[in-house]
Subunit: 415 residues, 2 copies
């Protein structure tokens, strides 16, 4: 039985800007969230530059920072984290890419970057290109695994590879696919770009002649006839969480990328039924899973995605409602635990203002509750109130040390 329950709750994209339709308030200000407000009263608040002042954070480096790791050292491209999140093993020299099934014409012009998004035959198509050989480097192992919808990951495994190569995914439609180029003048980068290009053409050859795609076409669907790759990455060399802090940690998240980040730093990853990483995610199930996990783990990292999804889609009401559901999730967790044993931070990995439907570099609001903390004067949790918070202005990687300090888990520096 673990005595101290240390919880980091990350509400993806929660921070926002004043919205005219909300009388120039933010979704977090408008939302009915009695639990977060109560914790703000009893705890301490502040604002956080997750990566650096004014810098819009990508999802992977943002969560790396919130878990206490320097994103400038530990973020080595998104691909490897995605691969880990999909349950693949990633070796130290592997180069991993985020991949999409896409639809191209015979001239390799991209007709649909997502091949219609829902690909019933994704398993069988993935199987057809997994473990194929490229002639440029037959010793290099090609590992392909599908992810959610049109997504997947590609891993190149072998010696003499490099993550410094450009994408094949043009990230736009009605133009030709890109051919990967070395981004640095090394043999490794040149070799990797050649392999990726050969794989890409082979994927087109194999997939466009695959019977599953003939079926798709006959049903009036777009063929998933090529793999487009981006975000080449290697697995960073990271001191594992339990080595660094002497704590047993677990991640409860729906999004494969976040699971991958958690695995990379050595957290266990729990798969919770109904935790979809979408607006419909079952947050009650996540709350129950977190409560259960406190019996065996010192540190619980809970990531919820829906607020960010709502922002990307411009859905104001849905964002407010999702935040209210997050509040309920936190209430269930907090009320179930002994308040004298809870050390909890609630924050966002970045702001996603609905007005721009993307990540921004605004500081995110932060709330820390600990039974032994000196509270500030802030009595509700919002972007505006946190400007007056007693924690002042922090960096993303400051949060975990603060939590662990109150839980008496930080090592003394010197004597």
């Amino acid at each position: 039985m673990v005595e101290k329950k240390i919880l980091l709750i990350v509400v993806d994209g929660m921070g926002d800007r004043p919205i005219p339709q909300l009388n120039h308030k933010t979704p977090l200000e408008v939302a009915n969230k009695p639990m977060m407000d109560e914790l703000a009263k009893r705890g301490i608040t502040g604002i956080v530059d997750v990566i650096g002042v004014g810098i819009p954070p990508g999802s992977a480096p943002a969560n790396i920072a919130l878990l206490g790791y320097d994103p400038y050292k530990c973020y080595t491209g998104r691909g490897a984290f995605e691969a880990l999140g999909l349950g693949l093993e990633v070796m130290p020299n592997d180069v991993a890419f985020r991949a999409n099934f896409a639809t191209v014409d015979d001239n390799l012009i991209v007709l649909d970057r997502r091949a219609g998004r829902y690909i019933a035959e994704a398993d069988i198509l993935a199987e057809a290109i997994n473990d194929i050989k490229v002639e440029h480097a037959p010793e290099v192992k090609i590992i392909f695994k599908r992810g959610i919808e049109h997504r997947g990951v590609l891993i190149l495994r072998g010696s003499g590879l490099s993550k410094d190569v450009s994408d094949t995914d043009p990230e736009r439609e009605n133009i030709r696919i890109q051919f990967s180029k070395p981004l640095v003048d090394t043999l490794e980068a040149k070799k990797t770009a050649r392999i990726l290009n050969e794989f890409t053409l082979k994927s087109f050859h194999i997939l466009s002649n695959h019977k599953a795609n003939f079926s798709r076409i006959s049903r009036g669907e777009k063929p998933a006839n090529i793999i487009l790759c981006r975000g080449a990455g290697t697995l960073p060399t990271i001191e594992k969480f339990n080595e660094r802090y002497g704590l047993k940690g677990i991640c409860i998240a729906g999004v494969p990328l976040i699971k991958g980040v958690a695995k990379a730093i050595g957290l266990d990853v729990l798969n919770v039924e109904g935790a979809t990483g979408g607006l419909d995610s079952n947050l009650i199930a996540k709350a129950k899973a977190a409560i259960k996990a406190t019996k065996d783990y010192d540190f619980i990292f809970i990531h919820v995605k829906g607020a960010d999804t709502a922002s990307h889609d411009g859905l104001i009401e849905e964002k407010i409602k999702f935040i209210e559901r997050v509040d309920k999730m936190i209430e269930i967790i907090f009320n179930e635990l002994n308040e004298y044993e809870v050390y909890m931070a609630i924050t966002a990995d970045h702001c996603s203002p609905i007005s721009i439907r993307d990540h921004s570099g605004d500081p995110v609001p932060l709330l820390i509750y600990a039974p032994n903390i000196i509270p500030d004067d802030v009595k509700s949790f919002s972007e505006r109130e946190c400007l007056k918070g007693g924690l002042s202005r922090l960096k993303g990687l400051d949060i975990l040390p603060i939590l662990l300090n109150y839980a008496y888990k930080m090592k003394k520096f010197g004597e």
Copy 2:
């Protein structure tokens, strides 16, 4: 037509300390400045350590930092920036010095470091020492150009030179000039010191025998009979502003040094008639120039000097009045533009407390206005109110990323 107007307004030396004659208020607190107070209400405020906590900033590194560049990496001595500001070309290996015309006696004792300050014959005297040869290194080109009043710049151009040499200007009077010494044990530094010393003696020989100085003496004026140098510098290797941010930027400043800093980072520099860099500078003309520049430029950097001049001269009332004129300048700019397109920061490059008549390391007040920003509770702009600001405490180089983030011009870090 540029859509977003990003403005950085730097009021040189604006910050101060409580002044007994002002009932222990500061000039900024006493000044009538309705526009800055209005923007403080609608925007967000904070305090800024322009270089680092407690460090009194020099003018060049301070403005480098406010423009978003690390002063510890990009400040390589004042000379090169001064030279650029006077319209000279500065090459990558040039060593540039700030220079003074001075008056020495036959024993090279400095009688007046400024040779009376106003030197009608400065052009003809500068011509007499420009492009002379030194015997130690005849291949090295000597470039001398006069500046304002007694000031000028010296450039040494050739291979094998170093900026690591000491000054010849003793910065005091009634003592002998200094001979330059190498500050590091390299051939380059030794060579450069020898060249500078030979140039100095040659300048004395040429200038003290120049007929223009005979005229000065006959009129009862001090002869400008030697050049004293300080602040050896090279041009830093800097990623240009438009490459870094994809923005077209322009500088509106009266002071050559600031123009030089702007040129070094790749801003265009506008010469505004009546923008003298003094207490008498025509700030209305600067406002109009800024408004016009918003049509072609994304980013406008406006630097006004007068508040600092007043501080150096101990002029309390003049400092207050200058700040009031700055407020008027900002009002003209803000009212002319569409408030939904303005992203504006107002700050100082350093405090210049009248009580010490010099730069200090006190944090400077900062105000940021953007149409989509969450305001804090601060309702007027002053050193004291900004202590309570929602931006909390920042570094100088944080300001530009914050402005650019709100203008949606910052690149995401990772994915």
